[in-house]
């Protein structure tokens, strides 16, 4: 169990709801993942083609801790506006603050993110910023009062895994709030890696929704995350440069 603000969570997998092919696959993946937290976005309704599928429309958000994102925001003001819209609609238990600072890499704007967090904390939100894997920024955001830090593994949707495990470790070691690795996870190996580094949870989307079999991948991710967490708690052996025999060196006189 771990806590984000007032919310106690058993599952360490937070799930984004983007890019699922249809409602059935999405519902199956949500169920298999065991997640208690769903992330989603705010957009204009399509007024002209009402038949466009929206798999999220049939998910009962009341069954989950709602974790809307501010994706699409490029300024602190835009992020705050999206948060206010989600809050007004009654589905904003926690807000994922995402202020993009670069269109090509989709890397977050640290200054805009910090400012959005400052405003939203003042308004009483449970604030979880999506950040680069910057150790100092993570510390400053924690000092500001955010409820969790969400450093990226790699740029959004790249599936490259953890680009900088050293920074991730530094962030985990200094943090007194949960660290949720967000973005860039490709496979359960990456999710397990994040958890072995001591992350409290992982937020996944594309790695599940764009897998060949998203429902099966949701389960694989759940198991990867559980394995990584157990490994972290169990304490892995140190990495050594030279071989260390597993079998006794004595008692070989019969050879």
């Amino acid at each position: 169990m771990f806590k984000i603000g007032p919310f106690e969570l058993e599952s360490r997998l937070l799930l984004g709801t983007g890019k699922f092919e249809n409602e059935e696959i999405q519902s199956g993946a949500i169920a298999e993942s065991g997640t208690e937290v769903l992330t989603f976005a705010v957009r204009r309704m399509n007024l002209y083609d009402k038949n466009l599928p929206n798999p999220l429309a049939n998910v009962d958000l009341n069954d989950f801790i709602t974790f809307p994102n501010t994706a699409g925001a490029k300024t602190a003001e835009e992020a705050v506006r999206i948060a206010e819209i989600a809050s007004h609609a009654g589905v904003c238990d926690m807000i994922k603050v995402e202020v993009i600072g670069d269109d090509k890499t989709l890397l977050p704007d640290p200054l805009g993110t910090y400012e959005a967090c400052r405003v939203l904390l003042k308004k009483g939100y449970v604030v979880c910023p999506y950040t680069s894997d910057d150790v100092v920024l993570a510390r400053k955001l924690e000092e500001l009062g955010v409820h969790a830090i969400m450093p990226l593994a790699s740029p959004i949707g790249t599936g490259r895994g953890i680009s900088n495990p050293l920074n991730m470790r530094y962030i985990v070691e200094q943090a007194n709030v949960p660290v949720i690795v967000d973005a860039g996870i490709g496979s359960p190996k990456d999710a397990c890696h994040a958890m072995e580094l001591g992350a409290d949870a992982v937020l996944l989307n594309t790695a599940i929704s764009a897998a060949k079999d998203p429902v099966k991948m949701a389960r694989a991710m759940k198991l990867g995350i559980e394995a990584g967490r157990l490994s972290y708690e169990a304490g892995r052996i140190p990495v050594k440069y030279t071989a260390q025999a597993s079998s006794p060196a004595d008692g070989l006189g019969f050879l």
Partner: protein, 66 residues
């Protein structure tokens, strides 16, 4: 009456409530989040607020995202 909805111009024969605008556009009231001239409107108030000439409506919803 002409107003802007989601950035596009829409013409209606007369001023009408937000509720009526949504009806005329055949939109699902349950899913929708309405901003009227930058003010978020609660669902229970959709019948109270009248959309007037040159008003701006944003009709928003939650979609999949991560």
């Amino acid at each position: 009456m002409e107003c802007r909805i989601n950035g596009d111009s829409f013409a209606f024969e007369y001023e009408m409530s937000i509720h009526e605008v949504l009806e005329s556009l055949e939109l699902d009231h349950d899913r929708i989040i309405v901003e009227h001239n930058n003010v978020l409107i609660k669902k229970k108030d959709f019948k109270e607020y009248i959309v007037k000439e040159a008003d701006r409506l944003e009709l928003l919803e939650f979609v999949g995202g991560g």
